[in-house]
């Protein structure tokens, strides 16, 4: 019996791939703790990777892929007769469908595969986002559009590398620098790649302070980086209330594929700004988003079992993701320089880099690079405008890709 049992242990079933993945999970946790890179996501994902790569026992799998379901044999749903106790406490024979239960992680992972968690996270993000800076400087909104070029160039790259159009769209969205959007779109277009795409998206979001600065310095002159911008005007309560509703209508009447993501984002923001639903906004941006973040991070991490994750595609996806982030950053910066050709009040082109989203890390990077040139230049607030418009931009891009690429 002891030997029998020992054969079922993880040590006996462990593959080299599992060990590699567990190390990657530990690196994620380490980066989060030591470097403070997106810890709210890297810690759950990292621990998820560790959990998902402990080999489990056949018949009692804990994998997110052990979904359970109705038993089918020879093209026919299998049924069975069972004895149940009815409302009056009498035993009764009933016929029912034969059914295999799923694992706990598979039940939780349902929120990922069906795209339920990302909109709930957007609800919380909406309830914590202040759109004031953007409202006070509307032209900066366009920078959030320009940075989405990373999405579409990556799509082309992915097609060229042999991915199907649907897969290419899901991979491209990594360049949107928005974890929930990436997970939502890949759940619709390429469910088998959710793990790799989500991990890539969150990894690069965590690595924004590493990826963006060289590109930003390369594409700007010292003079440009020294540009100071006028402080934003104050925005009235009315504007802040009307904005989420109007923006929702504009975005989704054109790109209905973004209804759920943007509906939740702007609904959360309305809860925050209305002034009469503060308790709902507070719960959205605390308990609700925390619970969903924990479950999403853990199960996405656990979906990276070596057997499904350590494939050539994952490596390609990571490569394309890096390109995507770089292109998006360049797109934002260059478009800011292009706008400066026409504007009297010049924009500091560094803030274009914040258009990739990765809220609020990329805005912080802008602030840092700006201060390296001039310690009295405070760009953070200005960078928040392209930063939040980049969230809207990538959700719209996701909506477009969904409607164009779904068969």
């Amino acid at each position: 019996m002891l030997t029998d049992f020992l054969e079922t242990t993880g040590f006996a079933q462990m593959t080299a791939g599992n060990a590699v993945m567990i190390c990657i999970g530990l690196v994620f946790v380490g980066l989060a703790i030591v470097k403070d890179y997106e810890p709210l996501l890297l810690v759950p994902i990292g621990m998820g990777i560790v959990i998902g790569n402990i080999p489990s026992i056949a018949g009692m799998s804990s994998s997110v892929y052990s979904q359970g379901g109705i038993v089918v044999e020879d093209g026919r749903v299998q049924t069975e007769t069972a004895t149940v106790i009815d409302a009056e406490g009498r035993e009764r024979e009933v016929e029912r469908v034969r059914w295999v239960p799923g694992s706990v992680l598979a039940y939780l992972y349902f929120g990922v595969t069906q795209g339920i968690f990302p909109p709930l996270i957007f609800l919380g993000i909406g309830a914590m986002t202040d759109f004031s800076t953007m409202l006070s400087n509307p032209r900066l909104v366009l920078l959030g559009a320009a940075a989405q070029v990373g999405i579409f160039l990556t799509l082309i790259g992915a097609l060229a590398l042999g991915f199907t159009p649907a897969e290419a769209g899901a991979i491209g969205i990594i360049g949107g620098a928005d974890g929930p959007t990436a997970i939502f779109l890949s759940s619709k277009l390429a469910p088998h790649l959710i793990g790799a795409i989500a991990i890539a998206a969150y990894s690069y979001m965590a690595l924004v302070p590493v990826i963006q600065p060289p590109i930003m310095r390369l594409l700007t002159t010292r003079e440009e980086r020294l540009i100071h911008m006028a402080p934003p005007r104050e925005v009235s309560k009315r504007e802040r209330i009307i904005f989420p509703i109007a923006a929702f209508l504009i975005c989704t009447l054109i790109a209905p594929g973004a209804i759920v993501l943007l509906g939740m984002l702007f609904f959360g923001n309305l809860l925050k700004e209305s002034g009469v639903t503060e308790r709902l906004a507070r719960t959205s941006r605390t308990a609700l988003i925390d619970i969903v973040t924990i479950l999403l991070g853990l199960t996405v991490g656990a979906s990276t079992q070596a057997q499904t994750f350590l494939r050539r595609e994952s490596l390609l996806i990571f490569g394309l993701g890096a390109v995507s982030f770089a292109v998006a950053t360049a797109g934002g910066v260059l478009f800011a320089k292009f706008m400066n050709l026409f504007l009297r009040e010049k924009i500091n082109p560094l803030i274009g880099a914040a258009g990739v989203s990765a809220v609020p890390d990329s805005a912080r990077v802008v602030q840092m690079i700006g201060q390296q040139e001039d310690p009295h230049n405070f760009l953070l607030m200005h960078a928040m405008a392209p930063n939040v418009s980049g969230v809207i931009g990538s959700a719209v891009a996701a909506g477009v890709l969904w409607s164009v690429l779904v068969h």
Partner: protein
């Protein structure tokens, strides 16, 4: 397996067209949003003349004083509903 970039595949699957369309739509949407929020303060300033400032939730309010407003709103909603239903009936 070597990394091969097959650009023919891109054209075959309308990759360029999708990319260009996508960027256009993203720009169009955000340009509209940008335009809307640029015009919003002016529009609100004009409305200010017509309508009173938004109600402050914390100020004391006489609950039934403005009762007429809601009745009118309800009437308007009911009327719209009615018109719409009538229209739907005529079409069938």
């Amino acid at each position: 397996m070597p990394l091969v970039l097959d650009l023919h595949r891109v054209l075959e699957h309308d990759g360029l067209e999708i990319a260009v369309t996508g960027m256009l739509i993203v720009f169009a949407v955000l340009a509209l949003v940008s335009g809307f929020i640029a015009l919003l303060p002016r529009a609100l300033a004009r409305l200010e003349a017509v309508l009173p400032a938004p109600h402050d939730a914390h100020a004391p309010r006489p609950p039934s004083a403005a009762a007429g407003d809601e009745v009118e709103l309800l009437a308007a909603v009911a009327f719209c509903l009615h018109l719409e239903i009538e229209r739907g009936r005529r079409e069938h």
